[in-house]
């Protein structure tokens, strides 16, 4: 079948069952937007205020739905505005296909208006970056891009079309192929594998070895990493943990991979890890990490990390093995497949002695009374009053750590947070994407006053598309996490972290046509949240907090995991 070049791009999107794209138009991508106009009944385009917001929205859409997100932008500044969003998706292994257009072939490399080497810039922060110069290759490249983004360890892919490639006067050959077929045949396998696979699954011998190691272990600890979430392996992981009867520490990216309220959960591990998690890590004799790369925020000091334990890493990406922490054993495969194989051979264990040592270390999680609103009160109010299955998107900093600590996440995709790249301004975009992909769910956006200023212009997107997103601003008038470091490590020299400035977030919300609330006590917070949840529109709650609120506990970067700089507080 002959079809116009830009129509082929749209058809390829439909082939991949894409119904929503996020983006921002511009000069070189005009041909695509013109075609999108004809496809507007089939593909919904969400126009954001800024390309970065679109990138985060596509990312949030992908994380919350498990599908591949799609984001459009024009050449030059459009493409460079995506960069932070692409890197965020890359560090957190989120499958997003970014489509940009560049100047025409006749202008390529001539420093034309809005020209930039998009594929060159994207190379280190994508799984693959394609520059398309021949319209006949459009279907192949599109299919391969989606296959690469979704397969193996997911991640972002950039396709940069030259403007002449999208010229509607050209016709190309196109045949519809269901995505399941082309991901298996026309995708990575044929094009990028040196030879056919002999053993496409995890090695049964490796699984057997781990089962033996488990049999010999008395004090095992499980780490639930982002791989459990991306691989949607939560059920298999839960069965595995319950049969193993071992404490489960959850990384920031693993939030939602294992129920936060489960009796075996010990909470976060690492820099702001709970005492229970960090002590368990130090005392265990077998550490099984699933889909976790032992980043410097988890394994603060790689040499002393789990020093008494045999370390086992289960990961889909071979390059993660022995990268940060040297391991004793590894299994390569998707978390779900490996865990299902393990579960098939795993007897029910009972480890009351080990559990009695670790689980009582968990701090009580009831907010103390105080005349002033505290972060824990804010989050407790949310936990008790917002729907249990609400999706939570966070920005980065203290509010992020508090949210992960005090809220419970029960399914993959419930927590959307920039764990790897630590992108301030990620939350609102991600919340927009999540709400678009999950119209039946409540989406909450947790942010700090510093983070919110970075991307609050996306409130116009919230208003325009009628999204009932509730933004909760943890407003302590400072870059809290940086201030916390300055307070503890830099002799209280608060260099450029005090945010004693506008805007008034309540008025800002109103200026964007949304509801605004302010809360300085628990009662006000409860009232504001109830109203925000029931008002039927987007809302912002400005929570006024003390400037010196800290995230507890805390271990300094590079220190052994039990050298707490700040203890759990409250009960201790």
């Amino acid at each position: 079948m002959k079809i116009k070049a830009p129509a082929a791009i749209m058809e390829c999107l439909l082939e991949q069952e894409v119904d929503t794209v996020f983006g921002y138009p511009g000069g070189t991508i005009l041909n695509l937007y013109d075609e999108l106009y004809r496809y507007r009944g089939k593909i919904r385009h969400v126009l954001t205020a800024h390309e970065q917001g679109a990138a985060h929205a596509a990312d949030g859409y992908a994380r919350s739905t498990g599908k591949v997100g799609v984001c459009f932008a024009t050449s030059g500044p459009g493409a460079t505005n995506l960069v932070t969003g692409i890197a965020t998706a890359c560090l957190d292994s989120s499958p997003v296909v970014f489509i940009t257009c560049n100047v025409g072939e006749n202008l390529l490399g001539k420093d034309a208006f809005q020209e930039v080497d998009s594929t060159g810039i994207a190379m280190p922060i994508t799984k693959a970056a394609f520059l398309v110069r021949d319209p006949q290759t459009i279907p192949d490249v599109m299919r391969q891009a989606f296959a690469v983004a979704a397969n193996g360890r997911p991640g972002p892919v950039l396709i940069d079309f030259l403007k002449n490639v999208t010229d509607p006067r050209q016709e190309i050959d196109y045949e519809f192929t269901p995505w399941r077929e082309n991901r298996a045949s026309g995708g990575v396998r044929e094009l990028n594998s040196a030879h056919p696979l002999k053993n496409p699954g995890p090695d049964p011998q490796d699984v057997e070895t781990l089962l033996e190691m488990i049999g010999q272990s008395e004090r095992p600890l499980l780490i639930c990493g982002g791989g459990v979430v991306r691989g949607r392996a939560d059920r298999a992981f839960r069965t595995f943990a319950e049969r193993l009867d071992a404490p489960v520490a959850i990384t920031v990216m693993g939030g939602g991979g294992f129920p936060g309220s489960h009796p075996l959960t010990t909470g976060m591990i690492g820099m702001h890890g709970s005492k229970a998690s960090n002590v368990a890590c130090d005392e265990c004799d077998l550490l099984i990490a699933v889909g976790c790369r032992f980043s410097d925020r988890v394994a603060l000091d790689p040499r002393s990390f789990a020093r008494q334990a045999k370390i086992v890493q289960i990961d889909i990406d071979r390059a993660e093995i022995d990268k940060n922490v040297l391991t004793d054993h590894h299994i390569i495969g998707s978390a779900r497949k490996v865990l299902e194989m393990l579960n098939a051979g795993l007897p029910q264990y009972s480890r009351s002695g080990w559990k009695d040592r670790i689980l009582p270390l968990r701090a009580p999680s009831v907010a103390e009374d105080s005349p002033r609103l505290t972060p824990q009160q804010v989050l407790e109010t949310i936990r008790l009053r917002a729907p249990k299955d609400a999706i939570v998107a966070t920005d980065v900093g203290q509010h992020q750590m508090w949210s992960i600590k005090y809220l419970h996440f029960d399914y993959p995709g419930q927590l959307l947070t920039s764990g790897g790249f630590g992108t301030m301004g990620f939350g609102l975009g991600a919340a927009i994407g999540a709400q678009m992909g999950n119209p039946d769910k409540r989406v909450l956006h947790m942010t700090g006053d510093g983070c919110f200023r970075m991307n609050c212009h996306e409130l116009c997107t919230v208003e325009r598309y009628g999204l009932p997103i509730v933004t909760v601003v943890f407003n302590n008038g400072t870059l809290g996490m940086v201030r916390q470091w300055q307070n503890l490590i830099y002799g209280q020299r608060f260099s450029e972290t005090t945010l004693d400035r506008g805007p008034d977030f309540v008025k800002l919300a109103e200026a964007y046509g949304l509801r605004g609330f302010r809360a300085s006590t628990r009662a006000e917070m409860e009232a504001a949240l109830d109203q925000a949840l029931s008002c039927g529109a987007g809302a912002v709650i400005d929570c006024v907090l003390d400037i010196d609120e800290v995230v507890r506990p805390m271990v300094a970067a590079g220190s052994p995991i039990t050298d707490f700089l700040l203890d759990e507080g409250g009960s201790l």
Binding site: T119, G120, M123, P124, K127, A128, L131, V148, N151, G152, R153, R183, A184, V188, R189, N192, S193, A194, H195, L197, K198, N199, P200, D203, K310, I311, I316, D317, R318, A319, I321, D322, K323, L326, T327, D328, I332, G333, S334
Partner: protein, 188 residues
């Protein structure tokens, strides 16, 4: 009882088979700059298989560094195979073209004698200079160059080092390691 890797720094050669597509050399080489590693030499050339290019990179590194960089290389989509070689496991060769001053007949004769000892060849002659071609391991080539330095070297052009495994095994062979990487690229 963690896995042991060599902490000793030595010269490794990474042989990388890649698809011959635009930008692939920069994709591979930027991994080295990203990690802050300095490439000693890099050679790219055709192989016995159409569309497949072999990149040979020489690098001073310790065991952990070289494993890590190889792992990152294997993840790149156009990369088909990566093998790590050290001194014992492979044969390394390089070529040098040396333009050396030969002002008179005596100098010329002496240079030709040296060239014969090293089994190198004179490939161009001029009244004032000779151009010499030498093929061999790094130490042989360095030795020849230092001998010729006495006469005055005008210019040197060198290739990087190419390497191939000793014995029957080749870079195309399957291994468990390779399957583990293929899995990451292919699993649905």
């Amino acid at each position: 009882m963690k896995k042991q890797t060599s902490a000793e720094r030595k010269l490794y050669t990474l042989c990388i088979l890649v698809e011959d597509i635009p930008g692939v050399l920069s994709q591979v080489s930027r991994l080295f700059s990203r990690k802050g590693y300095n490439i000693e030499s890099i050679v790219s050339g055709a192989t016995d298989r159409p569309g497949i290019t072999r990149i040979s990179i020489e690098l001073a590194a310790d065991g952990l560094m070289i494993e890590q960089i190889a792992a990152q290389c294997r993840k790149l989509l156009p990369v088909k195979a990566v093998k790590i070689f050290d001194e014992e496991s492979c044969i390394r060769r390089e070529i040098a073209l040396i333009k050396v001053r030969a002002a008179d007949r005596t100098a010329r004769d002496e240079i030709i004698q040296i060239v014969n000892i090293f089994r190198a060849q004179v490939i161009d002659v001029d009244r004032e200079c000779l151009t010499i071609w030498v093929f061999g391991g790094r130490s042989k080539n360095t030795a020849l160059i230092s001998m010729l330095a006495d006469f005055g070297i005008l210019e040197i052009a060198k290739t990087g080092t190419i390497a191939i495994e000793r014995g029957r095994s080749t870079i195309y062979d399957d291994s468990k390691l390779r399957e583990e990487y293929e899995y990451g690229k292919n699993v649905l």
